[in-house]
Amino acid sequence: MFDITGYLTQEHRECDEIYAQVEELVNQEKWEEAIETFKSFKDETLRHFQKEEDVLFPEFEGRTGITMGPTQVMRMEHAQARDLMERMEKALLSKDKDAFISIGETFMILIQQHNMKEEQILYPMCDQHLDAPEIIDKMEML
């Protein structure tokens, strides 16, 4: 049985693996497959963000009363990641390998330092204050 940290960390790793496939496909200039795989990656990432923004963060904020703390920072970084994903998609559609790799590099570092903060600080705080099975069920229902 997962706790919140384990459940969401697993999703981070799954998204990373799909992203690595996209990058490799772009590197080999297999554009059609890259676009398809990127779509899965983007869907998975946005679904993960939604689980956090619609369930986890409001629950955490409601329980602790902290609304301008780490959850706010995480939302801001989600917005930055969404913007970079849009730019990556445009680069993919215009088959611009250098632009994709360049935006992807910035995206990857943003997302990994973001994941580190969540895995090291925010998720353990959520496990400490929330009922993990209930939260995971709610996130699964999205």
Binding site: E105, Q113, K117
Partner: protein, 395 residues
């Protein structure tokens, strides 16, 4: 209700990390000129060379990186970071120049002054960092390793300061204390910090299999035990690091992100030099130092050239500067690759100089060019932030 880690929005301002990185790369360049002149004048001294790499480059860069990482990765907030980091940096800057240079002078007072400044800077920075870090529960090997590394650092540094006091005649000189100083700081501070960071960074940034849990989570304890054993035998310590280096190379080789990323070669080179240093340890002290210095320098220079562009992008993006330049616009990957090729030449010529003395002249040139390229990359990258933050661009 006590909630830890509310600080994740409190990453220090860009000026904190950039000033440490600019100072360390600036000092490294300045001292590379001194060492190159010394090489051509045949007055090169090994202790000055070692302390240039361990103090002026590694210590200052690592403290800068810790000011950034402690709030972000470990959730340890440092209040008033600009003032505190500024005080640390001032002492480190003075000590970081004086101490390595002091080995070229017969004057012991300069050595004592340089060492005292570094000791004060380090104790101050240790307490600034540890007062928060040790209160937090460590959930990942990186923050766990940082706790051990900082503690070992303080002990190892104190042994070093004792040795300086013995040179001045205040206390009796003890060979064992000097040896402990070297082992604790090389393996227990620099090595442990690099390993602790890699346990997280390699897996996450390059999408690799995680390190074996026993190694990643128990590395600091196993290492501490082997350091205690080291007066009897150093082999367990060497085997531990050998295992770490081989696993890291294997993880990188089997990584899922196959795309060419400019910092990966720095990791490979660093691990290769670590293996070389461990193999040479029982054979030649000088050869071990040469290779070990190249090991951590490679990792530090690679990371520095990733951290600066990311932080510039991150802070500009947070401050609403649009369009935000991407990392590759901040430090061109071609320039990062150039610094890597120069570093390779530096490593190769330094190791070959052990066999054919004339290679030391090639090393001197490669050293100058590498340190200049690094300083240029760090300065020009940081300058992008200071230029753009004042003139936000729209549309």
């Amino acid at each position: 209700m006590r909630v830890q880690g509310l600080s994740i929005q409190q990453a220090p301002p860009f000026i904190v990390v950039s000033s440490f990185f600019i100072t360390s790369s600036g000092l490294w360049f300045f001292l590379s000129i001194i060492h190159s002149i010394a090489i051509f004048k045949s007055s090169f001294t090994l202790p000055s060379f070692i302390h240039t790499f361990t103090v002026s480059l590694a210590l200052i860069t690592m403290f800068g990186a810790l000011y950034q990482m402690l709030p972000v990765v470990a959730g340890a907030v440092i209040e008033k970071p600009v003032k505190k980091a500024g005080f640390s940096l001032l002492l480190l800057l003075l000590g970081g120049i004086l101490f390595p240079l002091s080995f070229y002078f017969a004057n012991l007072e300069i050595k004592l002054l340089g060492a005292t400044l570094l000791y004060l800077a380090s104790i101050y920075t240790f307490f600034v960092m540890s007062s928060k870090l040790y209160r937090l529960k460590a959930n990942i090997p990186t923050s766990y390793g940082m706790k051990y590394a900082l503690a070992i650092f303080l002990v190892g540094l104190s042994f070093g300061y004792y040795t300086i006091l013995s040179y001045v005649g205040f206390v009796p000189f003890k060979e064992e204390i000097l040896k402990l100083h070297l082992k604790l700081l090389l393996f227990g501070w620099i090595g442990l910090l690099v390993a602790s960071v890699s346990f997280r960074v390699v897996e996450m940034f390059y999408v690799t299999q995680p390190y074996p849990k026993l190694l990643a989570y128990r590395f600091p304890e196993i290492l501490s035990f082997f350091l205690l054993l080291s007066p009897v035998t150093d082999y367990p310590l060497l085997i531990l690091y050998l295992l770490y280096a081989l696993i890291t190379i294997w993880r990188l080789y089997k990584r899922k992100r196959r795309v060419s990323e400019p910092t990966i070669p720095f990791w490979y080179l660093g691990m290769l030099m670590l293996i070389v240093s461990l193999v040479l340890y029982p054979i030649s002290e000088k050869a071990f130092y040469y290779a070990f210095l190249m090991f951590f320098s490679s990792i530090i220079l690679g990371m520095m050239q990733r951290i600066i562009p990311f932080l510039v992008w991150f802070h500009l993006s947070n401050e609403g500067v649009y369009p935000t330049p991407l990392m590759s616009d901040i430090i061109n990957p071609k320039r990062i690759r150039l610094s890597f090729y120069l570093l390779c030449l530096m490593c190769l010529s330094l190791m070959l100089s052990l066999l054919v003395n004339q290679f030391i002249y090639v090393f001197a040139m490669a050293y100058l060019l590498t340190s200049f390229t690094i300083l240029y990359n760090v300065l020009s990258g940081s300058f992008v932030y200071f230029r753009l933050k004042k003139r936000p661009m729209f549309g």
